[in-house]
């Protein structure tokens, strides 16, 4: 299942004496957190943080014995490589890569995606080279000196902006998630996927985006009273376009120029893209070249035949922009197996298009009991946050779930509840709870509860 060398993390703590919840009961106050707080071996969310993971017998977890005598390695005796213009990851990390997906390789190779390797990443920010991709007709090779953004239509003064002009405008910087509307569509399939976590959920990423507030440019063109929507269009060969309400554009839309401190990568819209915080990724039009203000939506193919939600009553819902509250356990997850019973830190990512995630609960017994996970501060609006909770896996079958609730009170639905709302063909906006089945061998695979 796992095509890559197993990362070192699951071996953490596994060579030590096993800790049973009963070991901790009755110990002094600092040990209270080792008490299981939910079924299946979930420990208090702060158990790892308080330095309390001493176990009876005087051993401290984290002090594994070395396999052999220390050697002084060759790299400590030879001058190393020279500085270089653009740094790259260690060759030992070469397996950490996006997973390309080309459903039409022979006829439309650029109508494709690549999945972010979620279970190889920690923290909240996605490295630029690992941000998921979704293209409708490949990545255009744009000469920034020849690219302009035109804003026209129902405006008092239609204007075009060169890239070098936009680079002189005041900017704002925000950490924001970006998620494809079709992320996690395998959760809507009739059978659980055999694919790794990245392929099931890897069309979400998170970056620090820097750009010009679109409201500044809108003030400059002066929308007329008839301007209620804007049609955003890219410069790619699909000339991909989406209609967006003006409210959003005035509220928090960016013309993004930088991603994680450097100029956008070509696959993320270089030299500039629209960025709509919390909304389905397709509306954050890449390679943006035109914003046409209009009285209503244009009803393009991408907002009728695609990116509309097929409901159980047979109707299709258009313009369902906001991405729902969601979480997924990434460590462990399908494709990232456990290497033996013992203590683990369960960890994952959570996000909501409506604002901040307020709470993530985790279950290790298929939903029979739940425990609150620790949310790593700061928890930002419309941004990935990481949650974690210690877990004592005793080596038996376990069913791991996570369930996020955001500041509006919305809670991630079970798969059954999500399915009830939609027609079988629905593939967008799936934020159903993911279940990971842990087998006694340590193998982890997707499951339906």
């Amino acid at each position: 299942m796992d095509p890559c060398p197993r990362p070192a993390w699951p071996t953490l703590l596994t060579q030590r004496p096993r800790l049973k919840p009963s070991d901790a009961v009755g110990y002094h106050a600092a040990m209270r957190d080792l008490t299981a707080v939910a079924g299946g071996g979930l420990l208090h969310r702060r158990a790892f943080l308080g330095g309390a993971l001493a176990i009876p017998g005087g051993l401290v977890l984290g002090s594994a014995a070395l396999a052999g005598p220390l050697v002084d390695p060759v790299w400590s005796h030879r001058p190393g490589a020279l500085p270089r213009g653009y740094g790259m990851p260690s060759p030992a990390e070469g397996h950490v890569a996006r997973i390309p997906f080309t459903p039409f390789p022979g006829i439309a190779p650029g109508a494709a995606a690549s999945f972010s390797p979620l279970s190889r990443l920690r923290g909240r920010i996605t490295p630029n080279g690992l941000h998921f991709e979704r293209h409708h007709s490949g990545v255009p090779a744009i000469d920034p000196g020849k690219h302009v953004l035109a804003i026209h239509g129902r405006v008092k003064r239609p204007l075009s902006f060169r890239v070098e002009d936009l680079l002189r405008y005041p900017t704002v910087t925000r950490q924001l998630f970006l998620e494809c509307a079709g992320n996690s569509l395998l959760q809507a399939a009739p059978e659980p996927s055999e694919k790794p976590c990245a392929v099931i959920h890897g069309l979400v990423s998170c970056s620090e985006w820097t750009g010009v507030p679109l409201s500044v440019l809108l003030d400059e063109v002066g929308p007329t009273e008839e301007a209620h929507w804007a049609i955003a269009e890219g410069a790619d060969a699909a000339r991909m376009n989406r209609s967006v309400p003006m409210e959003k554009l005035f509220d928090d839309a960016l013309i993004a120029l930088y991603q994680n401190g450097e100029r956008l990568r070509p696959e993320q819209g270089y030299p500039l893209r629209l960025l709509l915080p919390g909304w389905e990724g397709n509306t954050s039009v890449k390679w943006l070249r035109r914003l046409e203000l209009a009285p209503g939506p244009v009803h393009s193919r991408e907002e009728t035949a695609r990116y509309s939600d097929r409901l159980a009553d047979g109707k299709a819902l258009q313009f369902t922009f906001e991405m729902g509250v969601k979480s997924v356990i990434t460590h462990p997850s399908a494709g990232l197996d456990l290497s033996g019973s013992g203590l683990y830190e369960l960890s994952g990512i959570c996000w909501s298009g409506a604002g901040r995630v307020r709470r993530v609960e985790v279950s290790a017994d298929g939903g029979a009991s739940w425990a609150d996970a620790e949310l790593e501060a700061p928890v930002l609006s419309r941004c990935l946050a990481r949650f974690r909770i210690p877990w004592h896996w005793q080596g038996g079958p376990a069913l791991l779930l996570s369930r996020a609730t955001d500041e509006t009170g919305a809670t991630q639905p079970s798969r059954d509840v999500w399915l009830e709302r939609y027609a079988p063909a629905q593939i967008y906006h799936c934020n159903a709870i993911q279940a990971w089945q842990v087998e006694p061998s340590g193998r982890v695979r997707a499951a339906f509860t």
């Binding site: 269009e233 047979g314 258009q318 922009f321």
Partner: protein
């Protein structure tokens, strides 16, 4: 802008250029552009037909063109190509798309995949007519143009509703 007098002059220029408060939120570097300049980019077609160009075509005219330019991806009947169906029982133009104009827009915008923008307006009308004909929506000899295409009523026209509610 090294001295306040220069700054004041700069702000005055910005203020004049935008017709707004001199304390503009940006440097006001936009360049005037008009709709004629944008005609080469502005290929939007709306459901009411706004944006449709002159020209016309029929399914009969579109059939050989479809065989040549489209069938290798979509199948000769639009039902069995590797790119997914255009016609038939599945989620297709005939069963799902609410507006016939969107078909013209998308063909002109993005098709054929390997050479978008390579079809003439007459060819686009003819291919639009042929795909609609494959779905049993227009007759083989019906002529589609900027007047008749927006009048085509798609079977699933009432199948959509909007989730967007202004706050």
């Amino acid at each position: 802008m090294r001295r306040p007098a220069h700054l004041a002059a700069f702000l005055l220029i910005v203020g004049c250029a935008t017709g707004s408060d001199p304390a503009a939120r940006g440097p006001a570097l936009g360049t005037d552009i008009d709709e004629a300049d944008l005609a080469v980019w502005n290929i939007d077609v709306r459901p009411d037909g706004v944006g449709l160009p002159p020209g016309s075509g029929s399914a009969a005219e579109g059939e050989p063109l479809y065989a040549q330019r489209c069938a290798h991806c979509h199948g000769i009947d639009g039902t069995d190509g590797p790119a997914g169906p255009l016609a038939g029982e599945d989620v297709t133009v005939g069963t799902f798309w609410p507006y016939a104009t969107t078909l013209f827009d998308y063909l002109r915008r993005a098709m054929p995949y390997e050479a978008p923008g390579s079809l003439t307006d007459d060819e686009l009308y003819a291919l639009t007519a042929h795909v609609l004909h494959l779905n049993g929506i227009v007759g083989r000899t019906a002529r589609l143009d900027r007047t008749t295409l927006p009048a085509v009523v798609m079977p699933n026209r009432q199948g959509f509703r909007s989730d967007w509610k202004p706050r």
